[in-house]
Chain length 229, copies 2
Amino acid sequence: MSQSRPRIIPEATVARLAVYLRVLAGLADGGRSHVSSGELASAAGVNPAGLRKDLSYLGPCGVRGVGYSVAGLRDRLTDALGGERSRPCVLIGIGRLGSALADYAGFASRGFEFVGLLDTDPATVGHQVGGLRVRPVEELEAVVAETRATIGVITTPAEVAQSVCDRLVSVGVRSILNFAPVALTVPAGVDVRKVDLSVELQVLAFLDQQRHGTPPLLAPLRAAQGAAR
Amino acid sequence: MSQSRPRIIPEATVARLAVYLRVLAGLADGGRSHVSSGELASAAGVNPAGLRKDLSYLGPCGVRGVGYSVAGLRDRLTDALGGERSRPCVLIGIGRLGSALADYAGFASRGFEFVGLLDTDPATVGHQVGGLRVRPVEELEAVVAETRATIGVITTPAEVAQSVCDRLVSVGVRSILNFAPVALTVPAGVDVRKVDLSVELQVLAFLDQQRHGTPPLLAPLRAAQGAAR
DNA sequence: GGGTGTGAAGGGTTTCACAGCA
DNA sequence: TGCTGTGAAACCCTTCACACCC
């Protein structure tokens, strides 16, 4: 087994590469030509050594004693994350969250294009959201087929999320981002990522309570735990 | 004050406890009185052994050979996560995402109450969103003081997020949930959690590309990595 | 000197296997 | 017998320290 021309990149690293890429875009706009790992790390909110390790998965891409070329690193990261080609996505469930996502500029600028918006509600179907007409969910399979979408985003109520997911999988979608508060079950080879907004708040509240409702003697412990982030 | 505080609970566990709590609510509605770790784990999308370990941080709360009492475990989890008291939150930035969050039912049912909505846009200020009137961002300090909010949620553009954050911190908010795509810097003792929607999509796209654009020989490796979730 | 690249150490989290009890 | 509770192992990721090169 003599592979590893491209080393495998840890998922945690991939997530941070996307952050670095955004910071670099800002620096490029500002006219900067070089950055050090320290500066880049502080802008991204991470440890400098960790940043260097992250970048090392792409092979050497800096100059010792100098730093990184903003433009060069940007290209390197863009390429590693899949180039600039547009990625067609379908979005199912055009409620408040769904329509917020549908015209969130942050997606388009990163190469994600919503090519299909679907909903069950007759009051929503037919409306324009983010420059696209909302279509009835019955047309899901047809939309995926005609747009060749490879990513599905689910912002439906929890009750119907699994059935929407099954339909996406059945027409070949292998990457799904799920905002519905349920665990989706999918066959092997399909990748689901879940974003649970209320869980984030709940964790925050827990840490908050832990800090405040704790006897003085235990406070240092809490502080240490909280400071980890 | 809680009586038994034998162990500190890992943050990863806290996040999952919130998920278990939601699943249990569904089971209770369905009239179930008991669950096994296996069933609960599959509904939550986690490993059964891991679930038992998570629950063990609360002390023994099941019956060997039988399982867990739905009602009993629900109370236990609710208590561990901070009881049922309402937590006042302020939300700054009432754009699409902000208004989606402002009347997301998932928050209210978990004890999170938005008590202040703020924005700079004159076209937005004064409108009713989620049953609350949007107030000008100049009143931020006054709103926090009068509502005693302890949690701040930032859904502003990236450029102003840091200044909003600073103002929240200056009036005593120690828990902040940040949706703006920047790394916020805060003094020690303040807890910031970041949710970056486009990073989630980017990771999904990366894994997708990795699967498809990979030579057959490497495919098994990719599958193993992807199947981790 | 200054800053990158990277092995090694450390900490946290997941998985496994099995002891223990209704 | 069935399922919980939990030490121990395995794994992943972060952090540190320093060699190395401009």
